[in-house]
């Protein structure tokens, strides 16, 4: 059927045209914009020949090929390149890494990271580009010349080598070298929030750099880079989030929560203190299991928990950004214990704190928030005194759970797309080929199981039968 003229969408006039354009720019392996290996090898041969004639464009082209940087970005001073004097140059990430927090408890430590994340390329390759920068040559000055340089590459395949296609090669080949989109984003120095997960993970540098070198090795001599990695990059070097607690710190933190509860229990007459300490513990544990951000009305009401499907619906950011995630058995058990405790507490305080008992009744019916602070003679609407891990955090505790758990999940090799969905991140420019679109709920259950394993291994303190305490 042919639509009448007035019902057809005009090209580029739809409000979706921008999105459509982005989708088209994605790197599907069948894309016509992909350069074949034959073309790339011809390009490398051509560049090698011209490099010997001191043609800087040859280095520019090769550098764009191996780093995924556009040539505009390569000539922009916003992206820092530095000579090391050891045969390699460092391409620094321009990610705006969060400030290293001051810890609120002396027993805690952070995973050590190098704030200036970088990738390394041979110095001989970067040198001419650095000179171009030093001479103030910008992309505007040489666009035409550079394009002309590339048009002279004449592969048998008759493919056209353009600056954009050159920069996209790494994207097409990332799967061959085990590089995820998240790592690609780091190498290419894309904005950190393109893959929001990058804000949370402190990742090992060496495996990433080695995979990058393996990719580069197809086209250039990487002996210097390999030597540099072997002798100058420590195995435990990490880039990324500076806010990741060590595993021992998390254990120490739960010990601290235990000591708080212990003090409250020994003076058993202060029910408010016991309630607040126990609630603090349960919230922290559930945050660890669900990657819930610190937020007002944390976990909201019981209505958002499904005890048949063992799921919870979380809203920890703007309205409309909620997510449904599975609850692991461990978290579920703790939650059920807490509910038993609330029922017991409600019976216990019905005469000496009737207002609290009334609030607990509403909470248990799912009419009011589940986690509430006992202050004075009343339960507040939510819990506002979570233990701070980072100093100067306000009101709802610190966002340490996500940094810690996402880093551990990454270390355990959990699928980063599944972590992404579990943590409530949506990929910018997501398109139909991205794996997030086909992530199944069962994969989230697997993430949840890994999280449970991590928590179990830490053997965290766990109060039992608090409902029988009083």
């Amino acid at each position: 059927m042919i639509l009448p003229e007035h019902k057809r969408l005009k090209p580029n006039s739809s409000r979706y045209s921008k999105l459509h354009e982005i989708k088209r720019s994605k790197l599907a392996s069948s894309s016509k914009d992909r350069l074949s290996m034959a073309t790339l090898l011809e390009l490398v041969r051509y560049c090698d020949k011209h490099r010997r004639k001191s043609n800087w464009f040859a280095n520019l082209a090769l550098l764009s090929l191996v780093t995924g940087y556009s040539f505009t970005k390569l000539l922009s001073n916003e992206h820092r390149i530095e000579r090391t004097g050891l045969g390699v140059a460092k391409f620094y990430s321009s990610w705006n890494i969060a400030q290293t927090p001051e810890l609120a408890l002396s027993a805690l430590t952070l995973v050590s990271i190098e704030r200036d994340g970088h990738v390394v390329v041979p110095e001989w390759l970067a040198e001419p580009v650095m000179k171009m920068r030093e001479e103030g040559i910008t992309a505007d000055d040489c666009t035409k010349k550079f394009k002309f340089f590339l048009t002279n590459v004449k592969p048998n395949t008759e493919e056209h080598v353009t600056p954009a296609r050159l920069a996209n090669v790494l994207g097409y080949q990332k799967h061959q070298f085990g590089l995820s989109s998240f790592e690609l984003s780091f190498i290419m120095n894309e904005s950190k929030d393109t893959y929001s997960q990058n804000s949370y993970i402190a990742f090992h540098a060496l495996p990433l750099l080695e995979r990058h070198v393996a990719f580069m090795e197809q086209y250039i001599d990487v002996t210097d880079v390999r030597n540099y990695l072997a002798s100058n990059v420590p195995k435990d070097l990490r880039f990324g989030s500076p806010r990741v607690l060590t595993r021992d710190s998390v254990i120490a933190l739960f010990d601290y929560l235990r000591s708080k509860l212990k003090s409250a229990l020994q003076f058993r007459y202060d029910y408010a203190a016991i309630h607040n300490c126990y609630t603090d513990y349960v919230i922290n544990l559930l945050q660890l299991a669900t990657l819930h951000r610190p937020h007002a009305n944390i976990f909201r009401t019981l209505e958002f928990f499904d005890f048949n499907a063992n799921t919870v619906e979380i809203l920890d950011k703007d309205l409309g950004s909620n997510r449904l995630i599975p609850l692991c058995d461990y978290a579920l058990r703790e939650l059920k214990q807490y509910l038993k405790y609330l029922r017991s507490l409600e019976r216990l305080v019905r005469f000496d704190s009737p207002s609290v008992a009334d609030s607990l009744r509403k909470t248990l019916k799912g009419k009011e928030n589940l986690f509430r602070e006992w202050r004075g003679d009343v339960l507040l609407d939510d819990f506002q005194s979570l233990t701070n891990v980072y100093q100067r955090d306000k009101t709802y505790g610190s966002n340490w759970h996500r940094h810690f758990m996402m880093t551990l999940l990454f270390d355990r090799g959990v699928d980063r797309y599944a972590i992404n969905i579990y943590s409530g991140h949506q990929l910018k420019h997501e398109h139909i080929y991205e794996r997030s679109k086909s992530t199944e709920f069962d994969q989230l259950r697997e993430v949840s199981k890994v999280i449970e394993g991590i928590i179990m291994e830490m053997n965290l303190f766990r109060p039992t039968n608090m409902h029988e305490y009083f």
Binding site: R268, Y269, F351, P354, L460
Partner: protein
Amino acid sequence: MDKTSIRRVPIARVAIHRDAKTAFRFTQGLKPQCDISLLKPCRTGTWSTSVPQAIKIDKFYHVFSAWHGLLYAGAIEQQISVIIEQELESYQITHEAWRCAIGALAFQSDKAEHPAYLAELAKICPLVNSASFLTRRFETPRAFSYSFASIDPKSVDTQLSKLLTSRLQPLEGNQ
């Protein structure tokens, strides 16, 4: 305590008076020696014949003594009897409340934990170890405890330590 009257009031309007709260919570920690929930309520509306004293503040009846019957839900009807008191000073309410707590302890607590509770009582409410309540005064909570309960002095410490340890039982639940 003039101008008193006994009234049937809805259980939903009964609360423990603020000045009696600690004494009430102290008695909540005691264990009755039998299953009181088996007892049928009597005329007071609870299993106990004692009628609690209360002061009416706003719409609530704030009980400050004789709350034995309130402690175990099985024996409570929809309405209970309370004695309505007028204009009592705070110290008078506290005094009545602790006297009730001592009574509860003397007659109801598990005998094995009796001295430990007595020692704790003397610690958290020194007023109890005074001429207001006792015919003679004891130098320490420990002395008070074993004299009052007539038991081997050494076992007071052991029992108090056991009591405190038992309270930390929920913390022993590591996986």
